[in-house]
Amino acid sequence: MTPGASTTEHRFGPYGGRYVPETLITALDELTAAWRDASADPAFAEELRGLLENYAGRPSPLYRAPRVEEAIGAGPVYLKREDLNHTGAHKINNTLGQALLARWMGKRRIIAETGAGQHGVATATVCALFDLECVVYMGTEDVERQALNVYRMELLGAEVRPVDSGSCTLKDATNEAIRDWVTNVRDTHYIIGSVVGPDPFPRMVRDFQAVIGEETRAQLEAAEGRLPGAVVACVGGGSNAMGIFHAFVPFGDVRLVGVEAAGEGLDSGRHSAPLAAGAPGVLHGSLSYLLQDADGQVAPAHSISAGLDYPGVGPEHSWLLDEGRAEYVTVTDDRALAAFHRLSRLEGLIPALESAHAVAHVFEAGAELARHGPVVVCLSGRGDKDVAHVARLSGDRGR
């Protein structure tokens, strides 16, 4: 019997749950109740809708990419332009929603974890907007790699706390954010950045991100008069993927394709693909696929993209995988980097390295994906943040 099999509360099948220190249980109950009440309040929905429109810039366009179609010899291919949101990625959808919820609960202090800094920037942004105290935990390795985003967060009034334990990356920043929350739980809300963590975070973050799929469905209906044949998105924790998948899960004919980071290759052991190469385990409060060693110690992840550099994945993805409702593939660092360059040249769109993984899969499998209808790729973020990193890598590789 699988752990978690005895209870469906707080779970997706056996996955998810609340594997957290006792101190947090009351806060998770409070958050669940606040989320339930806020969801039922038209004024809350209206305020969030207004902010998404006028502050974040929604709806984001659904752009048909003719030169991508030409390159793969098939179509139609659409890009869902989350890269055009304020702060440059889909992250703002979630941070706006959770900041409103923090205000609803009367919590004036916000904490967050960040890897590449995108979620940290999106959190610092809403904290400036709502005049909330903001502390962002970030691994020292990432602080160094993403110096510009650190400055951006500080510019927005946030305090960035470097974390130098463990692998000094996103996983450890998340540990430290949870430790902070356990310590300051009475006045602090933890804005977790993906569909991970203890319940209700995975479903709450998914619901805040579901606007991506809802818009996509309406936009494609207007453009093509039909549902997509396939929806493709990158998966680290998996929030942009759950966001765009959610509206299509009930339509069994729509292929849902998640793209994990294969790093230097699944065989190398240096990757971030728990769904492809991990096993169910518990990290950061939920049961889900996880990179781990034979002793159950969490294995370090690797990806060229800091946003995918995480050994776990959202529990709903684990469920969609086991149920056969979604399929998950992997793309290596090299292929993602090639797609980063190729999309820039073809469409004048510099994708985030995270999103470049999804784009790479479409370059390779697009003709097959397009056989059953339009292909939609979630362009979850823009690549400005990655330009310096890619320039360095390209130099290293003798370009």
Binding site: M1, P3, G4, A5, S6, T7, G17, R18, Y19, V20, P21, E22, T23, L24, I25, T26, A27, S165, G166, K171, D172, N175, I178, R179, V182, T183, N184, V185, R186, P280, G281, V282, L283, H284, G285, L290, Q292, A294, D295, G296, Q297, V298
Partner: protein
């Protein structure tokens, strides 16, 4: 992995608390991360703790992501893992300790290594190695009932945590699901030595005791001096000291740890009106 010969099992937690109660004092419960500073030395530290007055020992199974722990125990955990300590290795240290001591041992850790080991296999092997209890910081009461049942199916007492944020209704629920003792977290937060304990602690412990259905209530997190241990011992059935011991080990080695345990135990000895035990409690096996 499973002992084929009957292993010496050690004293039960209930027997231990009965003895402490009869002696009119609270139980001293030092914590040690297994594999810190290395496997052999942690075995020696366990033996030293038992000799210098530990009533129960919490033995930490190291984990890569100890998110309920402060910097001190994190550091000890990473050092143990770097030294090659594993879940199986922890049970081996426990078996070796059990060969010479009947001091009850509670294994303390996180769920994932147990899942990887196999829940049923672990519960059986840990009980066979001589553990009396198991405390998993990321399995709060009721979070996974079937899993919790399986963990307790081979005789381990499943130790439950209660936090200052836990509601009175939930305290009653946890007490109902608890065995061995209830572990009251002295403050919201993670493990780690603190200079001062909160003033309301006595009242809070009393409130937990009223709902604990007779299960002993121990207090831990942040207790770092003999004086603090004595203060807590006055209101609780047991006192857990963890990070402060590891700090001491870093500064003064095994000898320092033994002296510190003895000092804690000495400070907790009530010299008030409690009469000495006239009739011996349930005799200890071994």
């Amino acid at each position: 992995m499973i002992d084929r010969v009957p292993a010496p099992t050690g004293m039960s937690l209930a027997q231990c608390f009965a003895r402490c109660r009869a002696e009119g004092r609270a139980a001293l419960i030092p914590f040690l991360t297994c594999g810190y500073p290395d496997g052999q030395q942690s075995l020696e530290l366990l033996r030293g703790m038992a000799r210098s007055g530990a009533d129960i020992i919490e033995l930490g199974i190291p984990f890569s992501d100890p998110l309920a722990d402060g910097p001190t125990i994190q550091r000890s955990s990473f050092q143990a893992l770097e030294g090659g300590m594993t879940t199986e290795g922890t049970l081996e240290v426990l078996r070796a300790f059990r060969a010479g001591h009947d001091t009850p041992v509670v294994l303390f850790g996180y769920l994932n290594p147990i899942l990887r080991y196999g829940v049923d296999e672990f519960a059986r092997a840990a009980a066979g190695a001589g553990a009396q209890g198991l405390l998993l910081t990321d399995v709060p009461a009721g979070s996974d009932p079937a899993l919790e049942e399986r963990l307790a199916a081979h005789g381990l007492d499943l130790i439950r945590l209660i936090a200052p944020t836990t509601s009175p209704e939930r305290i009653a629920l946890i007490a109902g699901a608890g065995a061995g003792f209830l572990y009251y977290i002295s403050r919201t937060g993670i493990t780690g030595a603190r200079a001062q304990l909160r003033r309301a602690l006595g009242q809070e412990v009393e409130a937990v005791k009223q709902r604990s259905a007779g299960i002993p209530v121990v207090v831990g997190f942040g207790i770092s001096t003999p004086e603090q241990a004595a203060d807590v011992a006055a209101v609780a059935d047991g006192v857990v000291v963890g990070s402060a011991l590891i700090d001491r080990c870093e500064q003064a080695g095994a000898e320092g740890v033994q002296e510190f345990v003895a000092a804690l135990r000495g400070a907790m000895q009530r010299d008030g009106p409690d009469p000495p035990a006239t009739s011996p409690p349930t005799p200890c096996p071994g």
